[in-house]
C-alpha cells in the first residue's frame, strides 16, 4: 500500500505492461506504459547469467526497449523500471530464433473478447512453451476503441504478454476506430511493409516465414502496394515453411470472403504458402489442402481460429472442410525440420484436432522454390 502510494506520489504509475513486442526478425522489445512521463530502465540477465542494463533518460509515457543482440532462442530474465521504481514483476522473454534453429512452437488466437476465456487461453499459451502468438484479428470489440484495450485484451492476456509477444492482424472491428490506429499504437510490431507501418508485415522465426496481411483497411487487390509486397516477400523467402495470417477467411463454413479467395488464394498457391490462419468466424475450422479452388491434393491448408472468447458462431460444413467445431480455444504450431504439426486445443488445453504437414528434406530450398507439403495425419 505504501509502495503504491509512493509511486502515485512520484507520478510513476504503471498503466500497462510490461509486455513483449517484436520489432524484426531478430529483435524483441519490452514495452510498458506509465501514467506520467518518466525515464526508462531495463535490467536483465542472459541465459548464461550475464547481466545487462538499458537506460534512457527521455521522459516518456510509452517505454519501448528494443533488445537487438539477444542470443537466438535464449530466454532472458528482465525487470522494468521507471524513475527507479519497478514496473510490474520480473519476467522472462524468449529471444527470436535464428535461421539455423528449426524447431520452435507458436500459438494462434483470434477474435478475443472480454471475460474468462482469453485469460484461460493465456494460461494455456504460457504452459505450451510457445515463443510467440499470432492473432487473427478483432482484438477489441466492438469497435477497437483505445480505452477498452486494457479491459478487453491486455489484462486478460497479461500472464502471456509478460513473456511473449502477440502479433495481431487487423480485424474488421479493430478498424472501426481511426482505421485501426489504436491497435497499431498499442502493439510493437515489425514495420517492414511497403507502406512503412504495421498494417501488414512479415517476420522470420527459425525456418519459417510469417506474413500478416491487412484485408480490412488496406488495398490488397491486384497491383496494390500490399499485393506487390506480398509477392516480393513470398518469392524472396527461402524459408522452409510459409505461413500467412489475416482476418477474414477465404474458405469457411461460417461465411467465406470470396473476394479474398479470388484475389489472394492463387498467390498463396503460386508462392508455396503452407498454411493460412484466419479468424472472423467465431469457431475453429481446418480445410483440406486447397489448390486451384479445389481439393484434395497438395495446396494451402486454411485454418480459422476465431474462438478466442467472442460468442460462438454456427456453421454449415462445406465440402472443403476437413474439421469444424464451434468451440473456444487456440492452436499450437510445432515447427521442426521437414514437419509442421498444428493442434487445436480447447480452453482447458485438451486437443481436439490436429494435422501434420511434412516436406521431403529438411534443408531450405532456393528462393521462390515451391515444395509442396504433404498432409500425413488427420484425426
Amino acid at each position: 500500500m505504501l509502495f503504491c502510494a509512493a509511486m502515485l506520489a512520484r507520478g510513476a504509475g504503471l498503466v500497462r505492461g510490461p509486455v513483449i513486442g517484436r520489432i524484426d526478425d531478430s529483435t524483441a522489445a519490452v514495452v510498458w506504459w506509465t501514467d506520467e512521463a518518466c525515464d526508462t530502465r531495463l535490467d536483465g540477465m542472459s541465459p548464461g547469467g550475464k547481466p545487462f542494463s538499458v537506460r534512457r533518460p527521455e521522459r516518456v509515457t510509452k517505454h519501448v526497449v528494443p533488445l537487438p543482440d539477444l542470443a537466438p532462442g535464449g530466454r532472458y530474465r528482465y525487470q522494468a523500471y521507471s524513475d527507479d521504481f519497478p514496473m510490474g514483476e520480473a519476467s522472462t522473454v524468449a529471444a527470436p530464433r535464428g535461421a539455423g534453429d528449426a524447431s520452435f512452437r507458436f500459438g494462434v488466437i483470434g477474435d478475443t473478447a472480454t471475460g474468462h476465456i482469453p485469460a484461460e487461453i493465456a494460461d494455456r499459451l504460457v504452459e505450451s512453451g510457445a515463443d510467440f502468438v499470432i492473432h487473427t484479428g478483432d482484438v477489441v470489440y466492438p469497435d477497437g476503441a483505445d480505452e477498452l484495450y486494457d479491459q478487453e485484451f491486455f489484462r486478460p492476456m497479461a500472464r502471456w504478454l509478460a513473456g511473449g509477444p502477440v502479433l495481431p492482424a487487423l480485424g474488421n472491428h479493430d478498424v472501426h476506430t481511426d482505421r485501426g490506429a489504436p491497435l497499431l499504437s498499442n502493439f510493437v510490431l515489425p514495420k517492414n511493409s511497403a507502406t512503412g507501418d504495421s498494417r501488414f508485415y512479415s517476420f522470420r522465426q527459425g525456418n519459417a516465414l510469417f506474413v500478416c496481411l491487412d484485408v480490412e483497411s488496406s488495398p490488397f487487390g491486384y497491383g496494390s502496394p500490399q499485393y506487390r509486397w506480398l509477392v516480393e516477400t513470398l518469392a524472396g523467402s527461402d524459408s522452409e515453411w510459409k505461413v500467412v495470417y489475416f482476418h477474414e477467411a477465404p474458405y469457411s463454413s461460417g461465411g467465406a470472403n470470396s473476394v479474398i479467395r479470388l484475389i489472394l488464394s492463387p498467390l498463396f498457391e503460386r508462392y508455396g504458402v503452407d498454411v493460412a490462419f484466419c479468424g472472423h468466424e467465431h469457431l475453429y475450422e481446418r480445410t483440406f489442402p486447397i489448390r486451384d479452388f479445389g481439393f484434395p491434393g497438395p495446396g494451402v491448408v486454411y485454418i480459422t481460429e476465431g474462438g478466442g472468447g467472442a460468442d460462438l458462431d454456427s456453421f454449415q460444413k462445406k465440402s472443403y472442410s476437413a474439421f469444424a467445431a464451434s468451440r473456444h480455444g487456440y492452436v499450437i504450431g510445432e515447427v521442426a525440420p521437414g514437419r509442421l504439426l498444428l493442434t487445436a486445443h480447447d480452453t482447458g488445453g485438451s486437443a481436439f484436432d490436429s494435422v501434420l504437414l511434412t516436406k521431403a528434406g529438411a534443408a531450405p530450398g532456393p528462393a521462390g522454390a515451391v515444395r509442396r507439403p504433404r498432409t500425413v495425419g488427420r484425426p
Binding site: 474488421n172 483497411s217 488495398p219 487487390g221 491486384y222 470470396s258 479470388l262 492463387p266
Partner: protein
C-alpha cells in the same frame, strides 16, 4: 409492361457486367487481376388472361468468367434459378401507366465453387413502376420511376437477405428511323442491400450500397398499339459503391407481344 389481354409478352434481356474491382465497406478498392465478365441472359414470358393482369415466368442463364492472378481463367455457366411472377396494372390512363410485380425466385443451390452461378437464396420481390403512357395523348417526354424490394429468408446454408433499389429515367424521342421511334433517356438509381450478393457470388455479408448513372436508347415500332415492340440499349456505371462490385453494365432488351389478340 403487361401484354394486351389474351396475348403473350416475351422479353429477352442480355446483360454484360464488367466490374474492375470490389469496393469494400471502408471504400477501399480491391482490384481483380483482370476484368471479370458476368453475362446474364434472361427470358421473361407472361400471359394476360384479363385486362391489367398477367402471370409470367423468368428463366435466366448466366456465364461468368474471371481471370485469376498468376493462373488461368475461371469460367462457370448455367441456369442460376427460375422465377414466377404476377403483374398488375393498378393505374392505366392516357398519360400514365403503372405496374406492380410480385415474384418468387427459386435459386439454384449454392455450391463451394469459387465462381458460383447462384448465391442460393430463394427470394420474394415486389416491384412498382410508374411511367409515361405509350399513347398519342401521353406527354411529349418519356420517363418513369421504378422501385423494388427483395427479401430472402435465411436458410440452413444462407443468411437472410434484404435489398431495395430505385431508379429514375427521363428523356424524349429524338428521331424516327425505319418506322421506329427512337428515344434517349438519362438513368440514375440507388441500391442498398443487407449483403453483397451480386452476379451469383456471395461476396460479403455486410451492408452493400451503390448508386448508378447511365443512359437508355429505346427504339419502338407501333408504339402505343397492342402490337408495340421495341428494343433498348442500357448503359450503366456504378458510382460510390461500398461493399459492392463496381464497374460498367451493358444491357440489351427486346420486348414484343405474340399470340392471338383479344383486344386491349
Amino acid at each position: 409492361m403487361l401484354p394486351p389481354a389474351g396475348r403473350f409478352l416475351l422479353r429477352l434481356e442480355a446483360g454484360w457486367y464488367r466490374p474492375s474491382a470490389f469496393v469494400d465497406s471502408e471504400g477501399v478498392s480491391q482490384d481483380f487481376s483482370g476484368s471479370p465478365d458476368f453475362v446474364l441472359g434472361t427470358l421473361r414470358l407472361s400471359y394476360s388472361p384479363v385486362r391489367r393482369l398477367a402471370a409470367g415466368i423468368e428463366l435466366p442463364y448466366r456465364y461468368s468468367r474471371l481471370p485469376v492472378p498468376e493462373g488461368s481463367v475461371l469460367t462457370a455457366s448455367g441456369i442460376p434459378g427460375a422465377g414466377i411472377y404476377l403483374d398488375w396494372a393498378p393505374v392505366r390512363s392516357s398519360k400514365l401507366d403503372s405496374a406492380l410485380r410480385l415474384e418468387y425466385f427459386h435459386s439454384r443451390s449454392v455450391s463451394d465453387e469459387a465462381l458460383t452461378l447462384s448465391d442460393g437464396a430463394d427470394r420474394y420481390s415486389l416491384d412498382a413502376s410508374l411511367f409515361t403512357a405509350e399513347t398519342p395523348q401521353g406527354p411529349r417526354w418519356r420517363g418513369g420511376a421504378h422501385s423494388g424490394v427483395r427479401y430472402a429468408p435465411s436458410t440452413r446454408q444462407t443468411s437472410s437477405l434484404a435489398d431495395w433499389e430505385i431508379d429514375l429515367r427521363w428523356g424524349c424521342a429524338i428521331a424516327r428511323a425505319g418506322g421506329a421511334e427512337i428515344a434517349a433517356l438519362a438513368l440514375g438509381g440507388y441500391a442498398i442491400s443487407s449483403a453483397a450478393r451480386q452476379e451469383g457470388l456471395a461476396l460479403h455479408d455486410l451492408k452493400s450500397r451503390r448508386a448508378l448513372a447511365g443512359f437508355v436508347l429505346e427504339a419502338d415500332r407501333d408504339r402505343g398499339t397492342p402490337s408495340s415492340r421495341g428494343i433498348a440499349l442500357i448503359v450503366e456505371r456504378d458510382l460510390g459503391a461500398r461493399n459492392s462490385l463496381s464497374g460498367w453494365r451493358l444491357t440489351m432488351t427486346w420486348t414484343g407481344p405474340f399470340g392471338k389478340s383479344a383486344g386491349r
